[in-house]
Amino acid sequence: MGDSKALDPVDYAIISQSLIAAAREMGAKLIRSAYSTVLREARDGSAALLDADGNTIAQAELIPMQLGTIGHVFRSCIELYPKETLVEGDFFVINDPYSGGQHLQDVFFFHPIFFEGRVIGFSASVAHHLDLSGGDPGLNIAASDVYAEGIVIPPLKLNMERDWNGGAFQRLMRANVRVPHQTMGDFDAQIAANAIGRTRVIELCERYGVEKLVAVMAALMDYSEVRMRAALRAIPDGVYVGEDAVDDDGLSDAPLPVCASVTIKGDSAIVDFTGTAPQVTRNLNAPFAATISSALSCLKAALTSPDIPFNAGAFRPITVTAPKGSMLNPIHPAPVRARMEVCFRAWNAIMKALAQAVPDKVIACGFDTTTSFVLSHLGPSGWSVYLEIFGGGFGAGHDNDGCDAVDGPLSNCSNTPIESLDQDFPFFRVIEYALRPDSCGAGRHRGGLGFVRRFETLTDNVRIALYSDRFRRPAEGLFGGEAGAVGFCEVLRDGKVIPLKSKDAMQLRKGDIVTLALGGGGGFGPASERSPDEIADDIADGVITRDHAPHRAPAALIDA
């Protein structure tokens, strides 16, 4: 572990835990002081502490998707503005997917941490913003390039005094967003989170000395690396392959394949996505940083114990590659807003590959889809934008049924309480929020259930926009388990059903009823091996119905 050998083991343990605690506090306060539902309820944000070279040391565990690649986007800032040129009050801001970012909605803030006149690290936060300009409120599903998706912020060095507190950049942003009350408030929450991280790191320097702190930062990365390598060593060497696909690009009906090959060699791994579909003209492409995040998240979740700090050291043994011009490494200016769908398929493809190497650790495919659902209305006092992220059923595992109605593994968004929606949005009402019986894939262990949300529009001129996936191609089961149900979205108007596609938008009228159905997870092992007691319980609880039971339940039970 190099220099860290000289560290006292107790100092090391204490300071490293304090750094992790500081990152956690930053994340918690980012969420708790935020304004938009997407940040405060869906918790679509993250916070981290970086060392002076921009390596991620500790991160708040909020959304797996945003973990792991903060260092990439930082690099494009520090290359333009070397740390020696920074002064107190400076900060970086960036959201450009083609400079290491994810999608435009994710805006990164970096604040340098000065101690005794030199930069010893950076505090970082990223948040998904509800509206960042672009062709439509909240979500422009028709965007054919990144310009139509919102305002692009290249790597910028700004100063709090000059550019933020009433300054030019703050005013520029305020003038370009549709819900400034929320977006500007969320920016402030990010800046506050960074201030908290900076304060905690300085306190640690004062308590333990800056040399010790810097040594611990290095040792903590080494520590994660050691643990990740130990996990990789435990897997048999080999090349494992898996494949899944995105339903379509929203224009044609053709599936978009995602191929992963995972090469395990000793204590390192290479994940390559050769064979994946070329980039598309709609927003389903994933910037390469997002691709890396999904690959790392999948390996970490499947192979290691959850308490390994997710920092730059954990990624050293892992290499991720994807062909330039593919959906997982697109060429500028391809649109990338709905990157999560292809990222989830990359996650599924890796999981299928790992199923060949470590069958008892993996899970079947879940619904594993980000369904981003927007209802918006322009009233006399401006735009009102409701955006919520929905998951579905989790895939079943070797020893367990999949979790019902929960966000997918690359994400972790909470739902917004119905009673909050009733208070905040007078233009629609949720009239049903229910589990979907029979949506789980059958198996020795069943997949998780999907669910249904129904909305009634209470005024005219409401716009619905959504992107989702697995409307055509269900979550497959594993080792003989069956597939879960697909999702759908439809509008009931004057007794007629109008189906929507998985990537779609339309104008709604007063009295329309929108049904959004999220799919279930795949089963694990043959359904014939499921215990009769569990089937009886599922029937009694209405999780599966008798109509649906025949091919999976012993006949005696069905007749009973």
Binding site: N412, E419, S420
Partner: protein, 670 residues
């Protein structure tokens, strides 16, 4: 005579006070029927129930009923379309990388959840009238057939108007008088349906258990010719007459940690200390609480077994660092302490009950701060060799000696507790240096000085008998009722009248209830506004002195909110950002007429002379002192070990300790 009996997982503690006479007893708990242990403690102390005027009881009966799923068979009734809210929960995962994630399990199944047609809006207007015919036709037969002992009713937006819930309750009550119906507006009149529904279900679930337990307890007391008052401890730090608790018992959960805080804080107040950080270190965990001006902080919500409970409780943060916490090295080579614990069996290696892994208690034995023949007042002998042997493997891996490894483990345990203290202080904008440390629990005083050193705290207050302070807390607790209500109002000139109106309503109901319970005397009222900037989802509590209500202005409230926001989030919001009140929290308190005396009980161990303590690799000769012999006016300098019946205080070099007139030990940095 006044008697407090606190039933814990392992021990049942009794504190009896009669004038200046103090009796302290610890007996083994009897988990199958905790009341047996409680009456055993009376017998062990030689107390005639007929002579007890005031009996206060705290137990884990409510908590265990939930943890062990031994509550009533409960049905859940909600608005049509929302049957599954108990299972959706918040649609998130507690551990983001767990592929085999399971949500916390509510204490019923999906088949026990029913719907009724109705809907009201967030301002209380009826959108869809309640279909009473359907309830009589469909719901009531299902409830009758299902064999339910309790029904929890939680309808959407019932916090705004309880009319539909009250109607459902009346219909079920008329048809099925034996089933007890609990409505959400009676338990937690606050918005956010999942949290309110779970609170209602858990309340309905434990209520028959508590009712049965207390009724049995009262019968036994009556048979022993007890004629005094009998009250029960709550998680909010107050007590209530048993008769009131039998009706609504959700506040009985986690009363034990709250009793400890109240006992320690009331006792410390006698020494004039009101700004305190309490820490209660037991066998498996440590509980930490911040106390400002004599008032422990309150949290609007807690959770049990992963399920949220929306009821105000003392804001106690728990970390997995106790005497039994395991010392280990993870697969990345890092030294760790906890959160796993050896529990009572097999226990630490030094207990010689088959445990072989090193624990914090073993580290103390190796270090010399727990003496083998003075543990638990000398009633349990420890095996020093086994403690040493348990540390060998960890020491080898770290390249340290056994003594150095034990010292490292203690420093790490200290660091874990320090982080918990930072969670309740620094993270909430409070500087721990402005507070005195108040350790209790069997293991608390052993680490107090080291924790204070890490935090920069210069004063430590140790109450008498720190190992049984929870039982004293029962006697020290005031009668308390708390309630919360969701009432959203933008902070403008309209807000103060709303506060006055809601407060008057609570005050009137509270006075009626307390007088009905025979609680005479002056009542003290408390008011807290839950506030946030419009658009935020999380509130910040702002305390308001009810005496200020007549002249309170919106500008005062805005200023206090902004200051609180700045303390926590490092900014007070941009100019002109609007603030709203989301909810109000009320408390009523009937103070005790007189706080009972509390004195150190004599230990049965001979403790004088010197003992060896190993710190930083070198041996120190520490003076041995009997806690009961420390008297005011005579300071003891460290290194010293102050041994008492229920706990030992370690006084390192550089610290000195002295007993003050109220009976507390005051330890200061020299």
């Amino acid at each position: 005579m006044r008697v407090g009996i606190e039933v814990g997982g392992t021990f049942t503690d009794l504190v009896a006070v009669d004038g200046s006479r103090v009796e302290v007893v610890k007996v083994p708990s009897t988990p199958a029927s905790p009341d047996v242990g409680a009456f055993n403690s009376l017998t062990a102390a030689g107390i005639e129930p007929a002579l007890v005027t005031d009996l206060v009881h705290g137990s884990t009966v409510a908590t265990n009923a939930i943890l062990e799923r031994k509550g009533a068979r409960v049905a859940f009734v909600t608005t049509r379309g929302f049957r599954d809210i108990l299972f959706f929960q918040r649609h998130d995962r507690r551990n983001i990388y767990d592929l085999h994630y399971k949500k916390p399990m509510p204490p019923l199944r999906r088949r026990d959840c029913f719907e009724v047609a109705e809907r009201v809006s967030s301002n209380g207007d009826v959108v869809l009238p309640l279909d009473t015919a359907e309830i009589e036709r469909d719901l009531i037969p299902l409830l009758a057939e299902g064999g339910y002992g309790a029904v929890a009713v939680c309808l959407l937006s019932a916090y705004a108007t309880p009319a539909h819930e009250a109607q459902v309750k009346a219909l079920i009550g008329a048809a099925l008088p034996k089933i007890r119906v609990t409505c959400s507006h009676e338990v937690a009149r606050e918005f956010r349906e999942f949290e309110r529904a779970t609170t209602t279900v858990l309340s309905a679930y434990v209520q028959p258990v508590i009712d049965g337990y207390l009724s049995r307890f009262e019968t036994t007391l009556a048979a022993a010719r007890f004629t005094g008052s009998f009250s029960v401890m709550q998680s909010n730090g107050g007590r209530l007459p048993a008769v009131a608790m039998r009706k609504n018992s959700i506040t009985a959960l986690f009363s034990g940690p709250a009793a400890g805080v109240v006992g320690a804080v009331r006792q410390a107040e006698r020494s004039g200390r009101k700004d305190l950080i309490t820490f209660d270190m037991g066998g498996t965990s440590t509980d930490v609480c911040l106390v400002v001006d004599g008032t422990p902080s309150v949290s609007p919500e807690t959770e049990v077994d992963g399920l949220p409970i929306r009821t105000p409780v003392l804001d106690i943060v728990t970390v997995g660092a106790g005497g039994g916490s395991i010392v280990w090295i993870d697969d990345g080579g890092m030294l760790r302490v906890g959160p796993r614990s050896t529990g009572a069996t097999p226990g630490p290696a030094c207990y010689d009950r088959g445990g072989t892994v090193p624990t914090v208690t073993d580290a103390h034995v190796v270090r010399g701060t727990i003496r083998a023949d003075a543990f638990l007042g000398g009633t349990m002998r420890l095996d020093v060799d086994k403690a040493h042997r348990a540390f060998e493997e960890v020491a080898t891996k770290l390249g340290l000696s056994v003594r150095e490894a034990a010292a490292a483990a203690i420093r790490l345990a200290v660091a874990n507790i320090v982080r918990a203290v930072q969670l309740v202080s620094t993270e909430r904008g409070r500087n721990p240096r402005d507070y005195a440390l108040l350790p209790f629990g069997g293991a608390g005083p052993l680490l107090a000085a080291e924790i204070a050193d890490e935090l920069g705290v210069r004063e430590i207050i140790v109450p008498p008998n720190p190992g049984v302070i929870s039982a004293f807390g029962l006697l020290a607790a005031d009668f308390v009722r708390v309630a919360g209500v969701t009432r959203r109002v933008v902070l403008s000139d309209d807000a103060p009248p709303v506060l006055r109106e809601e407060f008057a309503r609570f005050r009137e109901a509270a006075e009626r209830e307390f007088r009905g319970l025979g609680l005479d005397g002056a009542l003290i009222f408390e008011l807290t506004a839950e506030m946030r900037f419009i658009g935020q989802a999380f509130e910040i509590p702002v305390d308001i002195d009810p005496g200020r209500l007549p002249t309170l202005s919106a500008a005062d409230l805005a200023e206090e909110f902004s200051a609180a926001h700045r303390r926590i989030y490092f900014h007070g919001g941009e100019p002109g950002r609007k603030v709203e009140i989301v909810g109000l929290r009320f408390g009523v308190r009937r103070p005790l007429d007189k706080l009972p005396e509390f004195r150190e009980r004599a230990s049965r161990v001979v403790n004088s002379g010197e003992t060896t303590v190993w710190t930083g690799g070198s041996a120190l000769s520490a003076r041995l002192v009997d806690a009961a012999t420390l008297v005011p006016g005579k300071a003891t300098c460290g290194p010293a070990m102050v041994e008492g019946y229920s706990s030992t205080l370690w006084v390192p070099p550089g610290w000195q300790v002295e007993r003050d007139n109220p009976g507390n030990l005051i330890m200061r940095k020299v």
